[in-house]
Symmetry: C2
């Protein structure tokens, strides 16, 4: 690169940078806490995946600290919400939860990654013929991606503690429960907001009944909830009640669980309050120790 | 500035800009929705005030739209939360509230601006001797700043609708109620999360009883709440119960109000769920029309 080219290139960048400030008189950009997007190549999924990462603000008092990590499915929907909760609720004048790292996983093929089986029936119980355009049943592979590629990459790049939470909504809630049933040791706490138990003729309710042996050990924290999907008599609500009753009857040793029903919230508004309640529930003992 | 100084200055800025990208391999900054900070000089307060402004994302379908505005006190505490709620809850797949402009007012002298009187007694009812170091009683002037300087400036610079909400927490909640009693026409809806009714021997409870004439017109929306401040038998909770009873007994025509008590939330965690519930309450009729 010649000297003059070098000069022109950087003065152009500089001027663009400066002009954008000059356009807005008496205003400056508001600075949100920094988050970043990493791109990692997954051999398991055979594709590049973007990952959103929100880190606690470091200062001289916690430069060497390590932090719990919350892994969030549907990163494109609720990553900013969790980043906000993590920052605010861990402030020194709030201290409801510890400082945390939030890892949001945005979707590429949501239905493929977040459903446990190739669907046979749709949510009304009718034959599901949509698999050609919307493949399903890849949750096992997706969880393998999280376990063998994502978690090691995050642990390598950031100051993580061992404590990990998995959070999901709708199909993401389904995946969270599926992970707890299939690989319970992957996470310490599971959040399932409005999990789509209707999937494939209640596949996951049946799996839960099979996998969870009565009075077996399951030293985890579990939060699940539903909104007003279809009204109080809907299959959505009755599925959650069935799951809640199953969990209660299994009398699992060490499991600390909470079910919350939000009768005034929709499928899409419920995550705001449910994710907040879930964080409060998971860290209730931590809060007492502050 | 000489040419060589000019060159050095801008290449330095450019290189800093580029190095910060190179440090983080395979990562890029996460882009939060843009918000801005405006600085306006207030003649009323005789000081410069920074104002945080969050605008709805514009696209081809709403370029000419105008938006309701929520004015938030304690901008440094809950501006990002409201920006997040405003964006998420107005998404086309959520549609719980309309797209809104959020105006956050960070404090310069909080106690001066957000209390209605020069305090005589502290929260325990003992003589308050702190006025020399922490002046109080400037809420009237602060509300005048909002009315005569801030609202006109926002209306001039942004595509505002007439519909306006005032939101505050603690002393901010006190200010919100004080505004509704003193200048009810300034806003269409008032949010008071854990208002500090203890201020100056319940000054505001007495003012409410005086100002609100039985069965008078008050066509506003009002949301107020408290957390577990001091436990269920605390003066904080009993003050809120007194206010709720007063509002109920006054039988005000047109007033649409809601009181929520959050027994499991602290003074600092309650705003997260209370501000959400408040937005849901204020826009419940709007939501039905979608």
């Amino acid at each position: 690169m010649t000297f003059i080219n070098y000069f022109l290139r950087y003065t152009t960048i500089s001027l663009m940078f400066i002009l954008s400030h000059m356009n807005a008189q008496n205003t400056e950009p508001y600075k949100y806490p920094q988050s970043e997007i990493a791109t990692i190549h997954s051999k398991v999924l055979n594709e590049d995946r973007k990952i959103y990462i929100h880190l606690p603000k470091l200062d001289s008092t916690n430069l060497d600290n390590r932090f719990p990590v919350l892994y969030l499915m549907d990163g494109e929907n609720h990553f900013e919400l969790f980043a906000q909760y993590a920052d605010y609720l861990s402030r020194p004048d709030v201290l409801a939860i510890p400082k945390m790292i939030i890892v949001g996983i945005p979707n590429t093929q949501r239905r493929r990654d977040l459903t446990p089986t190739v669907s046979i029936t749709d949510w009304e119980g009718k034959p599901d013929t949509s698999n050609l355009i919307k493949p399903s049943g890849g949750n096992e592979i997706f969880l393998k991606f999280i376990k063998t590629e994502l978690i090691p990459a995050i642990d390598k790049s950031y100051k993580t503690k061992r404590y990990k939470i998995l959070a999901g909504h709708s199909f993401g809630g389904l995946s969270s429960i599926n992970c707890m049933l299939t690989y319970p040791d992957m996470f310490d706490a599971y959040i399932a907001v409005s999990p789509s138990f209707w999937w494939d003729d209640r596949y996951l309710l049946k799996l839960a009944d099979k996998k969870l042996k009565k009075e077996s050990n399951l030293k985890k924290i579990l939060f699940y909830s539903d909104g007003n999907e279809g009204g109080s008599s809907s299959f959505f609500h009755s599925d959650l009640l069935k799951f809640d009753s199953l969990i209660s009857n299994k009398n699992l040793i060490g499991l600390d669980y909470m079910y919350k029903h939000y009768p005034t919230e929709t499928h899409m508004t419920a995550p705001i309050v449910a994710y907040f309640d879930a964080l409060r529930f998971i860290f209730k003992e931590w809060e007492k120790q502050q």
